[in-house]
């Protein structure tokens, strides 16, 4: 019984009663719920069976994470990093933070350690944006998560350099979480890097990200998923932003055999600003399924979604995006655009933007385009001596460029590099 494993973990990791109960209830929620309904847009394009947990014991018991000092080589922070968190293939989770930030009250810890040592108000936030009612596979994560990161930024603390997370798959079922609690007037950039290693086994990767950004904070979250095609990824992210809060969310989805990403921001305060940028490049038989949500629950907030998809070979992609403006809210602005570029005749892309607008005082637009490489653009570049391959490279880079410009410089080159590598293949 998996419940025995949860019991075991409680003992081994000294998990508190509330978490134990949360895990048990979440397991029931996962176990007892039917598969998601394929009629809803969220599940129309991706069969859910593949996200079922093959081996729940493996997810929890392959190893019990040790916070530090178990003989692994510990990476040291580089000059460009404010903090670094990573997990190893045996689920060991390690974190580092500069002493200066530590002194300012910033906490960046393995989530289990944060709970065990009471290092922060974890119970108040964990699962509050993505509970076990959110969905079947979100419930599975809550029951079984074994790798977790916790970032707490006190009010008025500005973290200039980016915080890096490196996450790797640990077996047939990897269950990982990130919880960010950012105080008033705080600032930070998080770079969340998903990548497997050559020796990683094939498996599923389930990641949940919850971000709480309090009034007047400015956060940037940049996800970079570059799994090999051994990995099936399931990533759900929700952020809640307060008054006059500014959040940039970037999802670069480049790897994995199947990658289902659900990302969204709840604009809970007056004058909030949330931009979500998606950069997807699929090749071979990759399948991407990206859902975005902007939920305006307050007034005078601005949101913008810009999702760019490039596909080649037989890759497929589905983008569904929902903008929801709640009743009795005024003067919200919400924009949504999805553009798809198909490099040959094999790939297929779907695009379904949706609006649920329950308020009259709102400005909204949404649009989608889909098309092949423009032969006239190719000819224009060729007529200047540029060869076909380079012409395609330039057009694809150019297609992403206006979106890429919005992400931090060091990642700009990394993402563009992966895209160009994918173009080089074949």
């Amino acid at each position: 019984m998996i419940t025995d494993t949860i019991d075991f973990r409680k003992t081994a990791k000294n998990e508190p009663e509330w978490l134990y109960k949360l895990r048990r209830d979440s397991w029931s929620a996962y176990h007892d719920s039917p598969l998601p309904d394929r009629v809803v847009h969220l599940w129309r394009y991706t069969p859910p069976e593949q996200f079922l947990i093959n081996d729940p014991h493996d997810a929890m018991t392959a190893a019990i994470p040790m916070p530090k000092g178990n003989g692994h080589k510990i990476k040291t922070l580089t000059e460009v990093q404010a903090a670094l968190g990573y997990n190893l293939s045996d689920m060991t989770t390690l974190t580092q933070l500069t002493p200066e930030l530590s002194e300012q009250g910033v906490r960046f810890l393995d989530l289990a350690t944060a709970i065990e040592t009471g290092a922060g108000p974890v119970q108040e936030y964990l699962g509050k944006l993505i509970s076990s009612d959110f969905g079947k596979f979100e419930a599975a994560n809550m029951a079984l998560w074994n790798i977790g990161f916790y970032l707490y930024i006190p009010d008025n603390v500005v973290i200039e350099k980016p915080i890096y997370l490196n996450r790797i798959p640990t077996g047939t079922n990897t269950m990982t979480r990130l919880l960010v609690v950012a105080g008033k007037n705080s600032q930070a950039t998080l770079i969340d890097n998903y990548r497997d290693q050559a020796e990683s086994a094939a498996g599923q990767f389930n990641s949940i990200i919850e971000i709480f950004a309090d009034d007047h904070s400015r956060l940037r979250y940049v996800g970079l998923q570059d799994f090999s095609e051994k990995i099936t990824g399931y990533i759900t992210q929700r952020s809640r932003i307060g008054n006059q809060t500014d959040l940039l969310t970037v999802q670069s989805i480049l790897g994995g055999t199947v990658s289902k990403v659900n990302t969204g921001t709840i604009l809970d305060g007056r004058g909030g600003n949330s931009r979500i940028y998606g950069l997807l490049f699929g090749d071979n038989n990759q399948h991407f399924d990206l859902h975005t949500l902007h939920n305006h629950r307050s007034h005078e907030a601005y949101s913008n979604i810009d999702v760019k998809v490039v596909l080649k070979d037989k890759a497929t992609s589905a983008y569904t995006g929902l903008i929801r403006i709640e009743e009795k809210t005024v003067n919200n602005e919400a924009y949504q655009e999805n553009r798809n570029l198909l490099l040959n005749h094999g790939p297929k892309a779907e695009s379904i933007p949706e609006l649920e607008i329950l308020s009259d005082e709102v400005r909204c637009t949404h649009g989608a385009t889909m098309g092949p490489l423009d032969p006239d653009m190719i000819f224009y570049l060729k007529s200047r001596g540029i060869d076909y391959k380079q012409a395609v490279r330039m057009i694809v880079s150019g297609f992403f460029e206006p979106t890429l410009k919005n992400i931090p410089d060091d990642l700009h080159d990394a993402v563009n590099g992966i895209i160009l590598d994918k173009l080089e293949k074949h």
């Binding site: 224009y380 060729k382 001596g385 540029i386 060869d387 380079q390 150019g398 460029e401």
Partner: protein, 255 residues
């Protein structure tokens, strides 16, 4: 055969299986400027696109040489590297690719990948911007993205100047320009025209030829060159229109 930079013979072009150029021949020597005039739909632009290697314009018959090399065995990239340049009638926008990066790639490609040609790139580019009265900020803008008609045409001539072609075909570079822009563009064409290469101006109007003086003028009608002469031919067309040629040509067909 005289010493030619660019020569083509009996060129036939099909677009969507319709023949739009029906046997056109021309020889262009070093330092020569030729103009092809003609009404809309006479096949001028199709000829230009076909010669530059646009895949939608199929050359079904004929021969073409640049500097003695067989043009028709090359794709558009190779033609450009061999020294052919086409200034587009409707230059395309390429979002996300900056003018400076594009030109840098093009100059490198035109010179067979030789990086050393890029040493003076920035300086040359800035000089050409100044000469063509284009604001420096255009270097960082995306190619033709949101440019006015005149700005696009200036950018075409800027590319010509940077790429130093042996043979430049200018497809209706004067269309859509006001008189001031026309003067600037003409100044650019004259400056960028290779002294040992050729220029082929394709135009509706005499107007451009006041500023860029052709040595020879040819008139195209219904896919063929129906009349050739000196610069005075352009003046006659300006004065009398194309009708006299149409009736003459119709008679010729009847005979």
């Amino acid at each position: 055969m005289k010493n030619t930079i660019f020569a083509f013979k009996n060129i036939h072009v099909q677009v969507e299986s319709k023949e739009v150029v029906r046997g056109v021949s021309l020889e262009i020597g070093p330092g020569e400027k030729h103009a092809i005039m003609g009404k809309n739909g006479s096949g001028k632009s199709s000829l230009a696109n076909a010669l530059a290697g646009h895949p939608a314009y199929e050359i079904t018959k004929g021969e073409a040489y640049i500097n003695g090399q067989n043009l028709l065995e090359m794709d558009a990239t190779e033609r450009a590297r061999a020294g052919l340049f086409l200034a587009f009638q409707y230059p395309l926008a390429i979002p996300g690719v900056t003018v400076a990066n594009f030109l840098r790639s093009a100059v490198r490609a035109r010179n067979g990948g030789d990086e050393s040609v890029l040493k003076t790139f920035r300086k040359d580019l800035m000089e050409m911007f100044a000469f063509l009265e284009i604001d420096k900020s255009f270097a960082a803008r995306y190619i033709n993205d949101g440019f006015s008609g005149g700005e696009k045409k200036r950018l075409e001539i800027l590319q010509m100047a940077m790429l130093k072609p042996k043979m430049a075909i200018l497809d209706e570079t004067d269309s859509g320009l006001d008189i001031d822009a026309l003067k600037i563009v003409s100044k650019g064409i004259n400056q960028a025209s290779p002294s040992d290469g050729g220029v082929l101006l394709i135009t509706h109007y005499q107007r451009l030829l006041n500023y860029v003086k052709p040595d020879y003028v040819h008139v195209m009608m219904d896919g063929r060159i129906v009349q050739s002469g000196g610069p005075e031919l352009a003046l006659k067309l300006e004065d009398q229109g194309y009708d006299w040629l149409e009736s003459k040509n119709a008679r010729a067909v009847e005979v």
